[in-house]
Symmetry: C2
Subunit: 303 residues, 2 copies
DNA sequence: CTGAAAGCGCTTACAG
DNA sequence: CTGAAAGCGCTTACAG
């Protein structure tokens, strides 16, 4: 044994993987690797995986059917954390691997899902605006076919209907630019028709909205209250600090990772059942900061 | 062949890797996966790798000597993109793999480096402040032993000395919180000693500084001009929009990936030499936005 | 050109 | 308990 360590021997992973029919690796798939929403999730997944002796592979999930298909098929991953609900169900269900859906989901995928209740979270945002006296409220939504976007929009619509508010929706795509465009559209509305409360489907989008409104001469929350969604790192340092829906991203990544790892172990008959409670859920919460305030009468920008 | 595709046969990567003595995978190592500076680099590396038929592994580089050592040794990666200059040289040089240093570097690593000239970029920032008439300038630095932090601080010091300015340095660590702490320290200075220009070693840090100063009642750039470093995604939507040093992160990731891929191919005798010019360098530039302005006389905050 | 054999470096089941 | 053999699923070099 001493000789072994002295010569600096290292097991060859490819050989071991082949013999054991496992890869000691988990794969993270996300629709856009440069989105800051995902970064903390990646970190958490990698931390858990590393602690379990697993390696982490990462890939953009929008890289073409063939490539994505082979990622789950070539025997290089033992399990998958999937952050994209927009892949073809045949592809996802075709991978015969432990898989967990995180954040986004798709009912056609035969796999457990972990994430917040987006509908309820959107209601929270509307409730907050209602309590501040806002009556006319606007939602800057995410992409039309994104499950998260749909759930948040439906939650917004349902809650504002329940409270007899006047809701409107601007169709966006979660980006800064969509928020800015929504602000321009908002400003073009006749003063009296202008919503005084805006709920954005993402923090980025809210940053874009606020930034553009301020550039046009409006004040936040003086002229318009803005709520984001996600509570990304910069939210509390934005000016004004952003009122938003907090998603515990690190926790989400950690639990998802633990759960795939459990599924993998279970498959290999290691350990006796899951260490994580599979019904454990993730709670979103409203974080009130400075971008929302009492409803004011509409007025024109001081340009 | 038809029968093959009809049965849905897929080559087993572990078996092929073992036989061919390669992994078709590159490894990205970064000191902190949740830092937004890295996200766009990851995306670019993964894009290039995917185009070349390679898989991407990602890992935090601060996970313990043994684990990090085996990542480069177990035959699962063909090449490495290293974003951390703080690992032990014996570890890094012990991996006998194609490797490129990106952004951070360490002279003890026997591997090419790709990145901007941080010293020169810092000079650019000081030059900008000088042209706006600032005389007393402060630098909020990165961690003491970080190469990037040292280069930026030295550039700041050299350029401000050259221009006979009055420089001071607050020792930070690139974070929002460090920026905020620097702002508090700054505010405590006697009005006449207060630097009117602040150069932060990162955008996050600049956000923290601006956010905290505004909360204390100061205005940016009215009372103090602030420059960041990196030009991360939110920089142009911050309020005020952040003047900063632009680093072309996507391009950095892309070129680094191409270069490791070339090194790998070269090693396997595929292709005839590098497709990328190995002397190609990365240029940083100053992006002037709204967080900097003419030097004003110091005054106390309207609290 | 085609097809069978050897071998990549491990792990595991089995014989001694 | 120890040690030699078989085999994971491929690729490649070689014999026919």
């Amino acid at each position: 044994m001493r000789a072994v360590s002295e010569t600096g021997y290292r097991v060859n992973a490819a050989a071991r993987d082949l013999r054991q029919r496992r890869a000691r690796s988990i794969l993270i798939l996300a629709p856009n690797l440069s989105n800051t929403f995902f970064s903390r999730i990646f970190a958490a997944v990698q931390e858990e995986a590393s602690a379990a002796g697993l390696t982490v592979q990462i890939s953009d999930s929008r890289i073409g059917r063939d490539r994505i298909l082979s990622l789950g098929h070539d025997g290089r991953a033992d399990g998958i954390v999937l952050l994209d609900g927009g892949l073809e169900p045949e592809v996802v269900n075709g991978w015969q691997l432990p898989l967990i859906q995180l954040s986004e989901w798709n009912d056609a995928y035969v796999a457990p899902h972990l994430g917040i209740d987006n509908h309820a979270a959107a209601s929270l945002a509307v409730e907050h605006l209602a309590e501040l006296g806002h009556h006319s409220v606007m939602h800057v939504s995410g992409p039309k076919h994104n499950v998260l976007a749909v759930a948040r929009r439906d939650g917004f619509l349902a809650e504002s209907a329940k409270r007899a508010m006047e809701p409107s929706v601007f169709s966006g795509d979660f980006t800064l630019e969509a928020g800015a465009e929504a602000a321009r559209r908002w400003a073009r509305l006749p003063v009296l028709d202008r919503p005084t409360g805006v709920f954005c489907a993402s923090d980025e989008c809210a940053f874009g909205f606020i930034s553009e409104s301020v550039h046009m001469g409006y004040t936040v929350p003086g002229d318009v209250s803005v709520i984001g969604f996600d509570d990304i790192d910069f939210a509390d340092r934005f000016l004004p600090a952003l009122t938003t829906i907090h998603q515990p991203r690190a926790e989400m990544g950690r639990i998802a990772a633990k759960r795939v790892i459990d599924m993998i172990r279970c498959l290999h008959r290691e350990g006796l059942g899951p260490s994580e409670d599979p019904t454990q859920s993730i709670e979103a919460s409203l974080v009130v900061r400075s971008s929302t305030g009492p409803a004011s009468r509409g007025r024109d920008a001081v340009t």
